[in-house]
Amino acid sequence: MTSEYTPEMLARMNAMIRDLVPQNAALGLEIVRLTGGDVWIRLPWAEQLVGNPETGALHGGAISTAMDAAGGLSVMAKLGRPGSIATLDLRIDYMRAGGRGEDIVIHATCYKATKHVCFVRGFAYTTDENDPVAALAATFARKS
């Protein structure tokens, strides 16, 4: 599957993920690209999400939450429809911190979906996907 979502489809998806998931709305999460089993979402820098007030770096928890959200969306992208899923486990490695005012982008890939379990990898970065802030490995259970 390589079906690229159009801007109109993304706008509808973004309205949906904010309505259904209050935490997505609170973080200001936005899907910027969605195709096949791949999703790119943006976590905009915000003062209220800062974990280190000395450097202005976003808290790891905000990045973990965006990683979880991106992982779930990559599963739905892979399956080609919204569905009920639950995170089984999540491993996040942090390579470096972001800076004050820097948005985080997460690219998550659902590389395998079986009948009951979906497998996801992903990276968080600021401007260069080859200079990651954090890496993700996760599994999700399909509930329906």
Binding site: V21, Q23, G51, N52, E54, H59, A86, I92, Y94
Partner: protein, 146 residues
């Protein structure tokens, strides 16, 4: 904004009250975190709030906010250890989701499994009404060198 976290850390140790640290961290306020001491171990709490919900139909807490609670508790547990003299930074967090987090307060405890010169390993568990029924658990590896 200039905040001297190491000075706040010193004050937290002097008074035995880590809440001065939480007050200085914007994201800790966003999560609604508080901390108390139970038998020498820190217990962190995340107050329920509508904006922490991940599934409005149940409603259930967002798994990411639970991960944030676990990570924050692990960091606090290492920070209040007198051997720590730098702000701990997360290397890896590995989270297992056991139950869905209901729309209520969530508590979290942490045990420092090993405190080395460079790396600390912390086991954390979050629970709601029943301390023996974990909602989420995590192992957190923290870098403790400046």
């Amino acid at each position: 904004m200039t905040v001297d976290l190491i000075a706040l850390l010193a004050r937290a140790r002097e008074t035995g009250d880590a809440s001065v640290l939480l007050d200085a961290i914007p994201y800790a306020r966003f999560l609604g975190l508080s901390i108390r001491n139970e038998g020498g171990s820190p217990i962190a709490s995340m107050q329920f709030a509508e904006h922490l919900v991940g599934d409005a139909t149940i409603p259930a807490l967002h798994g990411g906010t639970l991960a944030a609670l676990l990570e924050s508790t692990a960091i606090l547990a290492v920070m209040i250890d007198p051997k720590t003299n730098a702000m701990p930074r997360t290397i890896t967090i590995t989270i297992d989701y056991l139950r869905s987090g209901r729309a209520q307060r969530t508590d979290c405890r942490a045990r420092v499994v090993r405190q080395g010169r460079r790396v600390a390993v912390v086991a954390t568990e979050a629970y709601q009404d029943d301390v023996d029924k974990s909602v989420v658990t995590a192992i957190v590896h923290l870098f403790v060198v400046e």
